[in-house]
Symmetry: C2
Subunit: 242 residues, 2 copies
DNA sequence: CTCGGCAAAATTTGATCATATTGTCGAGAT
DNA sequence: ATCTCGACAATATGATCAAATTTTGCCGAG
């Protein structure tokens, strides 16, 4: 089966699986948690465009949930930077500015390599194999032009590494940052045809196998910077155009 | 309108929202925002002990607010790490572990010096004067044994620097980290008589005046590490005791 | 007769919804 | 261009239901 992740019962974040699965799950998880995960995935994988308005009532009908759970999920996402609470008391998907990207670049290149460094000695062989499978699927998605799959596999690749680091505060901090540039990713990748990314992933996997934390961390740093620069140039072009 | 403050007739003790809502106390702020600020201050300044249970209905009566606003505020604080959502669906103030402190040390010493570096060229003379006044009041609070005031002045000192950096993502990230060790601070300071000397603060102020971003950043890094080490040793003693 | 444990009632707490109230945006008239 | 009115969206309350914890009461063993 592809659900290689059998250990984790219900830690705070496992949005990908919950999204693909039906809206109905076991009775133990509260609705506001499910709404949160689904909405989070919607933002993270570019299903909502930057600047798009988000209304409570729209989500209650779209996700078929009550008003209170939707409200709580929205507050949570706002607090994580995935949504913006404007002065009108209305909510929308935030738009990245150039200054924001500079901040994200600094924070991500500080945190994510460190998470990779911590993860290296903790990654089991099975986990590394799983990472390699994810990377392979990612290549297939790129070759096939399946943007949705590409984004999700890329996210899964990073997320699983960070989960292995066993550093909850740093991981949740990194997750928050991903939420910020998520909405722009689809947008960016739509116009950048040649994605030259996977080299870093392959380097990482080899370094994991060799137990070389430093090389893995450097590759992660390169991967992060590569992605952010790509968003940066795309956004600069857009500013120039308009 | 007049219906807004109908509930807050004469609560004798309410210093919290006065502090956080220094400039904006207009009628435009929603209740869930006010509840959030007050609850946040309660956590940040050690009014709630680590491990203490937090109930929705308790807060509705204590803060005299409805159920929905309290609920939203709690979700927000959970998402920021200031509260923990347990498997029982109950909420409590989290307890710091040694591993958590290591993470906080890494993150804070990466982010807060950078914020200081960014802030240095943006700090006006008036702002620096305000910082010096805060530092003076902090000294007075230490001398007078006023722990509450000390914690708030120290927080204000850092917060005002970070606000000047004009880096919203990094600032909100740093704020999140403060929420994590806030509950432990009062606890720590209660037993450590000799509080970390504000040498670093004085160094920072001088560096701000000289426009020396690098020195200011280094002093901030020293200040951060000093604080975290203090919490660390205190927590280690507690582990040893039990 | 007392002590300890087990189980059922009672209480507390959380989750969700339906609804009333309030505020905001926009169309059309002055 | 400004003002008023109506539709729409968010805020906030209280009620209701469900889950979990605590209390209570019972029974048997020592």
């Amino acid at each position: 089966m592809e659900s290689v992740d059998a250990k984790r019962a219900a830690p705070p974040d496992d949005p990908v699986d919950e999204l693909s699965g039906a809206s109905d799950t076991g009775g133990k998880v509260p609705v506001h948690e499910l709404v949160y995960r689904r909405l989070r995935a919607l933002i993270l994988f570019g299903d909502m465009a930057p600047g798009q308005a988000v209304t409570i009532q729209g989500l209650t009908s779209q996700l078929e949930a009550g008003m209170t759970p939707v409200r709580e999920a929205i507050r949570r996402l706002i607090s994580e930077g995935g949504l913006t609470f404007r002065d009108n008391r209305r909510v929308s998907v935030p738009v990245l500015s150039v200054e924001n990207i500079a901040e994200l670049k600094f924070l991500r290149s500080a945190i994510e390599p460190e998470l990779t460094r911590l993860a290296t000695p903790r990654l089991s062989v099975a986990e590394i194999d799983a990472l390699e499978r994810i990377d392979t699927e990612m290549d297939a998605a790129i070759a096939g032009g399946d943007l949705e799959s590409y984004l999700k596999q890329n996210h899964a690749f990073h997320t699983r590494i960070y989960a292995a680091a066993e550093a909850p505060i740093m991981t949740s901090t990194a997750d928050r940052l991903w939420l910020r540039f998520g909405p722009s990713l689809r947008f960016v990748c739509a116009r950048v045809e040649s994605v030259a990314l996977p080299d870093n992933h392959k380097t990482m996997i080899a370094a994991f196998r060799a137990g070389d934390a430093e090389t893995a961390a450097l590759a992660m740093r390169a991967d992060v910077l590569q992605g952010m620069v790509q968003i940066e140039t795309c956004l600069a072009e857009d500013l120039y155009k308009s």
